[in-house]
Structure formats: structure tokens, C-alpha cells
């Protein structure tokens, strides 16, 4: 089963770029890398998903090296409202069973300071 490892916490200042790296050494061929954001008292919210190289949307970028053993979520010019917990998970794209791959883990708590 793919297991992810992320830093427990990170601090940043407004206007900076934040990069959160997730390692997933046992990632399988059909696994996608997915990131969620969670604010206090809310459910997680999907941010971005990728398979290889780079994916960008209006919120973030996701960088995935060729070996896919890690990935980096990049948040450009963070603001105070980006303070949240960020979860990395890998999910088999083909099947819903083998639910061990839907483990969100502890996540990374990002604190953005003024």
C-alpha cells in the first residue's frame, strides 16, 4: 500500500510561495497523487490532482518528478486565509476497493503569519 509522509507543520508569511513536499515511496503505476485542504470545523476540500510532471490550476501547482516517489504542492503568494491543514494522498485510479489507499494521514498544518 502506498503510504505518504508529510511534514507535520510549516510556517510562512503572507505573500510568500509555500512548497509542501509529500513522499510516497511505494506509489504504484495506477496511483494518482491528490491534495486536499481543510479549514477548522469544515470537511476537506479538493485542491489538485496529478499523475506526473506538473499540473496547475487557479489555486495551486503540483510538481511530480519522473520517479513519482514524491510530489510538491506549491501555493503561490499565500495569504492568511491559506492557513489550513493540507493532506496528500495517493489513490488507485482504477478501483475503489483496497481502501487502504484512502488514508489521509496526519496532514501538514500550514500557519501563514502577517
Amino acid at each position: 500500500l502506498a503510504k505518504t509522509t508529510q511534514p507535520i507543520s510549516m510556517d510562512s508569511y503572507e505573500g510568500q510561495e509555500v512548497n509542501i513536499t509529500c513522499s510516497h515511496n511505494n506509489i504504484a503505476t495506477n496511483d494518482y497523487i491528490t491534495w486536499y485542504q481543510q479549514f477548522p470545523s469544515q470537511g476537506p476540500r479538493f485542491i489538485i490532482q496529478g499523475y506526473k510532471t506538473k499540473v496547475t490550476n487557479e489555486v495551486a501547482s503540483l510538481f511530480i518528478p519522473a520517479d513519482r516517489k514524491s510530489s510538491t504542492l506549491s501555493l503561490p503568494r499565500v495569504s492568511l486565509s491559506d492557513t489550513a491543514v493540507y493532506y496528500c494522498l495517493v489513490v488507485d485510479s482504477r478501483r475503489l476497493s483496497n481502501t487502504g489507499k484512502l488514508i489521509f494521514g496526519q496532514g501538514t498544518t500550514l500557519q501563514v503569519k502577517p
Binding site: Y32, T34, Y36, S41, Q42, G43, P44, R45, F46, Q49, Y87, V91, D92, S93, R94, R95, L96, S97, T99, G100, K101, L102, I103, F104, G105, Q106, G107
Partner: protein
């Protein structure tokens, strides 16, 4: 706007009571999930359902059961609540057969068992 709603935001129950947590989604999603979230442990999957009356165990199903009689509704049942089931419970839904698709989460129910 997509929506997943949960019947209660806060719930206090006594040990031994039977507890029902209800989740409704309005997106015609095939898949629905129940997670619990505890400090330091992230989100852990309890059960999921990929169709009406169909269910599969997640990673921590012990002490829980589920019911899905209609596509839009997924219920989590604690047959005999115990204090170690005090937690935040999150419901989610998504489309299709692939586990990789974006999950939409409800706001959560904070259950306290005394």
C-alpha cells in the same frame, strides 16, 4: 453548487446508546464515504458505499454499520456507542468507479459519547 449535508453538527450521546448519523448528497454521486477524524491520526475510512445497498468496509469498521437505501443518503450507525467513538465524523461522496475522483465532504458531525 454541490452539497453534502450531515444531519447534525454536534451530538452528545451516552454510552450504550444507538446512534444514527445521516448524510445526504445532491450530486447524484454513486460513491459515498464515512470517515472519522481524530487529532494526530488524520482521517480514517470507516465504510464506503458504491451503490444503493452496496457497502464495503474501510480501515476501521469495528463498532459501526452503515445503511444506504437511497442513492442520495448514507447512514452511519453506532450500534452501542462507546467513549472511544468520540470523534469528528465526516461524510463524503464522489463520482464513478475510480477512487481517484474528487471527493466532496460534508461539514462534519462532532460526536461526544459520555
Amino acid at each position: 453548487d454541490v452539497k453534502v449535508t450531515q444531519s447534525s453538527r454536534y451530538l452528545v450521546k451516552r454510552t450504550g446508546e444507538k446512534v444514527f448519523l445521516e448524510c445526504v448528497q445532491d450530486m447524484d454521486h454513486e460513491n459515498m464515504f464515512w470517515y472519522r477524524q481524530d487529532p494526530g491520526l488524520g482521517l480514517r475510512l470507516i465504510y464506503f458505499s458504491y451503490d444503493v445497498k452496496m457497502k464495503e468496509k474501510g480501515d476501521i469498521p469495528e463498532g459501526y454499520s452503515v445503511s444506504r437505501e437511497k442513492k442520495e443518503r448514507f447512514s452511519l450507525i453506532l450500534e452501542s456507542a462507546s467513549t472511544n467513538q468520540t470523534s469528528m465524523y465526516l461524510c463524503a461522496s464522489n463520482l464513478g468507479l475510480a477512487g481517484a475522483y474528487e471527493q466532496y465532504f460534508g461539514p462534519g458531525t462532532r460526536l461526544t459519547v459520555t
